[in-house]
């Protein structure tokens, strides 16, 4: 199968998945307790005002009609109005999604650099103290929830040592760069607003590291195992007979094939971080999509909940496709198999 055919097939599958997800989420939000109009307007709002809002939200229509109105709106880029923020859900997503993407990307960088480095170190010193230390650290990293790391980092680096800020995306007094992507670091680089870039990076470090810890632990273990496995392959032995330095074997010849499982996991981790970062965003008062999603769920904000889950679904599906493409690039066997139709 050609790569283009494969891609088209994946996209069609993705549409089916997203459609199914939208129906599921739509139904679930409709059976949650509470009248969203009454919750949004408060107990003392006049009944006619509540009924007007119910009418605008089609809450009294049959479910299939409600879904139809909602889906029509989505195809026109209208996700409805958020009862939480009182503005179009699309505006909320445009504001909060980049914040979470920026956090998750930074976490991914930490995960990639630190996870792979630690995994490589452990593999290179197999069964010695370096290896044991990394593996022990990995176990701790995997079992400890991200919010625990967040609290520890806030107390240690934010409060005791006062090295990093503990909330928000920028310090007070720092002018945010012009919004292009919504990601402050990237926008600052594009517009040349380097003060904002530095400040934004400073604010990103602790929350991103908190979010990345479990991933770093996981990546280090997977990378270590993958490298150790590949070290035993024939081509490595052959490389050694040609007196190629060990470091070159490790980082040039072994790293690429060893990264295949790592990349797959990292892709899924990135997608998960977008949705699971709620507690980290809460602790650092990070105005991200995860925290917004949780707040809207607690308030039965139907439009916002459905939109957030749909957006996360789109990201998940997209990331999966990208991961598959990267893996195909890393492993020529997969690429060649695809091109030959095997």
């Amino acid at each position: 199968m050609k790569l283009s055919t494969w891609l088209i097939r994946r996209l069609i599958q993705a549409i089916g998945v997203l459609l199914g997800l939208s129906i599921l989420v739509f139904l679930i939000t409709r059976v949650m307790p509470g009248n969203p109009a009454r919750v949004a307007l408060g107990a003392r709002a006049p009944q006619e005002v509540v009924e007007e809002l119910e009418r605008r939200m089609h809450l009294n229509d049959p479910l299939y009609l409600q879904y139809y109105y909602w889906l029509s709106g989505v195809f026109h880029g209208d996700f409805g109005e958020s009862l939480f923020t009182r503005r179009p859900v699309l505006d909320d997503i445009k504001e909060y999604l980049p914040a979470t993407m920026e956090l998750a990307l930074m976490a991914l960088i930490f995960q990639a650099v630190l996870g792979v480095t630690l995994g490589g170190l452990a593999a290179g010193h197999e069964n010695r103290w370096v290896d044991h230390s990394v593996r022990l650290g990995a176990y701790l990293g995997i079992v400890t929830p991200s919010f625990v790391f967040a609290i520890v980092f806030v107390l240690l680096f934010g409060y005791a040592l006062r090295l990093f800020p503990t909330m928000g995306r920028l310090s007070a007094g720092v002018v945010a760069p012009r919004v292009i992507t919504g990601m402050t670091v990237i926008d600052g680089l594009i517009t040349g607003h380097f003060a904002a870039v530095g400040n934004a990076l400073w604010h990103l470090i602790l929350p991103a590291l908190s979010l990345a810890m479990a991933g770093i632990a996981q990546e280090s273990r997977i990378t270590r195992a993958s490298i150790v496995d590949n070290l035993r392959k024939d081509y490595v032995g052959l490389s050694r007979t040609f007196f190629i330095p060990e470091r070159k074997i490790l980082f040039k010849y072994l790293l690429k094939p060893s990264l295949i499982p790592t990349v797959s996991i990292m892709g899924l981790d990135f997608a998960c971080m977008l949705g699971h970062g709620f507690l980290v965003e809460l602790i650092f008062n990070w105005p991200g999509l995860s925290r917004y999603g949780m707040n809207t769920m607690l308030r039965k904000d139907l439009n916002a909940v459905t939109a957030v889950i749909l957006v996360l679904g789109v990201v998940f599906v997209t990331v999966n496709i990208i991961v598959d493409l990267v893996v195909a690039y890393l492993d020529p066997r997969i690429r060649m198999g695809t091109e030959r139709g095997t």
């Binding site: 709002a45 006049p46 609290i151 107390l155 909330m167 928000g168 007094g173 400040n199 008062n285 039965k300």
Partner: protein, 541 residues
């Protein structure tokens, strides 16, 4: 060669990052006051009505009348007023020379527009005036008439919630496609993140997820303390660890009230941090659903009131609180101080039960007690009440219920919990607010009246009291109602809730010592002062 290029690239990127990071720190030189709040906040006077919104509105806008700590109303935007003999027309004289943030002058047109907008949109504090205020006439530039459809004694108190908006600014920023015909969205989208006020502070930046930053309005007409903050920041977080860290680093000046007692104790032990407690006019009740047996029997309700350990609730479960005296807080004007108060007495509880039609059959009538899962302290209360009732042979089954579900359940008598522990706050600083909210049948089916009290006699007395324009006469009627309600005991009148805050010692907060019993007004930032030298000393500068 490749190795050197790679090293060089790494060096360049590292230096670039270091240069960027050198821009990382910034300091404030202005007097800034930062506080934390439970979000979201709606800064549109026709939309917001919760605590953070009310606080923001008090600072961004001016009300028609200003409440005082003594529970009276003083002239503010309205300097003078009179009522017609039939109590249906109120004439207000408007203060001259008050400027909005855009520099234009506030006049009678803005008053009329504000009320019309509030009534039309129907959200926020509109319920205080809907069905009572028919229209507002502009008599001249500085005079308006409020026409009422029925007499409303507490009108002046309610006007502390009429925040005057700039008519021209709102009309200039209307979105055409909205729910209000020619008036489009009535400026709702604009006022989500901007202000059109005349208050001491004006919006600098508003993020619906994060914060409200506002600057001191240099042309404010009213009193501003000499050391008042030049910038205020309301931050939307109540996360304990964040609060504690920020307080320690002096990045936060006043905490929210939602911290646990343990968190407040820890904050109080920190150098340079004070704790403040005041009564905010709210009260906690065990609302007893009269449609569910055995709570339809007044003797059972009295027995439960005799069984409750009020001391444990006020001192252990909610330290600093005091037992409620009667059906609404004593802080509210119109409260009768010497009304009967229950105390724990199991013998008297058993005597009441013996008179009940359910005597000897209570085993067949277990009572479900629902507590709001978002407030963990309510579980302590539930367990205490269960243990107390066990002493008199009443079986209490405890159920944890999410807040949204409880609001839903309250809509019908059969789904409303038999007992629910709820905190209710007054909407304006007068007993009439609580009496109407809590005990008028028109509010049955809301979370503020889960007793389903539908007594025509009580309704008539409440309507009559609220229609009484003369204050002393009206308060006399409140006293009568108080005694009747204590006799009827629709709920267990538990405690008057104390509100706590941690604040920095370099903040002078006069209203904190002498609070105004109207939500938000204790946080008038223009009356606070920031001692920057003391702050610098605490920061070690």
């Amino acid at each position: 060669m490749k190795y050197n290029m790679k090293s060089g690239l790494i060096w360049i990127v590292s230096m670039f990052l270091l240069v960027c990071m050198s821009f990382a720190s910034f300091g404030d030189e202005k007097r800034v006051l930062t506080s934390t709040w439970s979000w979201p906040t709606y800064i549109d006077p026709a939309v917001g009505s919760d605590y953070s919104s009310s606080t923001a509105l008090c600072n961004l806008y001016d009300p028609l009348l200003m409440p005082t700590a003594e529970g009276a109303m003083e002239p503010w935007i309205a300097t003078d007023w009179s009522a017609s003999d039939d109590g249906l027309v109120y004439t207000f004289t408007i203060r001259q020379g008050v400027k909005f943030h855009d520099g234009t002058e506030l006049d009678a047109e803005d008053i009329a527009f504000t009320m019309e907008r509030l009534l039309t949109i129907g959200e926020g504090y509109a319920y205080l005036f809907r069905g009572k205020v028919e229209e507002v006439d502009v008599l001249d530039t500085y005079k308006v008439n409020f026409h009422l459809s029925e007499t409303f004694g507490p009108l002046l108190y309610a006007l502390s919630r009429l925040y005057i908006v700039n008519k021209d600014v709102v009309l200039d920023n209307i979105k055409p496609d909205g729910a209000y015909g020619d008036l489009g969205d009535y400026g709702k989208a604009f006022l989500l993140s901007h202000d059109a006020g005349s208050g001491p502070y004006m919006v600098q930046d508003f993020s619906s997820a994060e914060h409200l930053y506002a600057d001191l309005f240099s042309e404010y007409w009213g009193y501003v303390a000499p050391g008042a903050p030049e910038e205020i920041k309301m931050i939307g977080t109540t996360e304990a660890i964040t609060i504690r860290t920020m307080m320690g680093k002096r990045e936060l000046d006043i905490s929210d009230q939602w911290q646990t007692d343990e968190a407040f104790e820890a904050l109080g032990r920190m150098e340079g941090i004070n704790l403040l407690s005041f009564f905010d006019g709210s009260a906690m009740y065990l609302m007893m659903n009269h449609t569910k047996p055995p709570l339809d029997d007044v003797y059972v309700r009295r027995a439960l009131s005799w069984a409750m350990d009020y001391e444990a609730v006020a001192q252990d479960a909610f330290p600093g609180s005091i037992q409620a005296i009667g059906p609404f807080p004593q802080l509210l004007p119109g409260h009768k101080g010497d009304v009967f108060q229950y105390h724990q007495d199991f013998d008297r509880a058993r005597e009441e039960l013996a008179k009940s039609k359910y005597a000897g059959q209570l085993d067949a009538y277990p009572i479900e007690y629902h507590w709001v899962s978002e407030v963990p302290d309510f579980e302590k209360l539930a367990l205490l009440f269960q243990a107390n009732c066990d002493e008199i042979g009443v079986n209490i089954e405890i159920v944890k219920t999410p807040w949204l579900k409880m609001i839903d359940q309250a809509a019908l008598p059969e789904s409303t919990p038999a007992i629910a522990s709820i905190i209710v706050a007054p909407h304006y600083a007068e007993a009439g607010s609580m009496i109407e909210t809590r005990y008028h049948s028109s509010n049955a089916g809301t979370w503020e009246q889960m007793e389903w009290l539908r007594d025509p006699e009580i309704d008539a007395l409440i309507d009559d009291a609220l229609a009484t324009v003369d204050t002393e006469e009206r308060f006399g009627k409140y006293h009568t109602l108080q005694e009747m309600l204590v006799e009827m005991v629709p709920s267990v009148f538990l405690i008057e809730k104390v509100e706590k805050h941690a604040y920095q010692s370099y903040i002078s907060w006069p209203a904190g010592e002498n609070p105004i019993p109207v939500m938000g007004y204790t946080f008038q930032f223009r009356l606070m002062e920031v001692d920057t030298e003391k702050k610098a000393a605490l920061l070690g500068q």
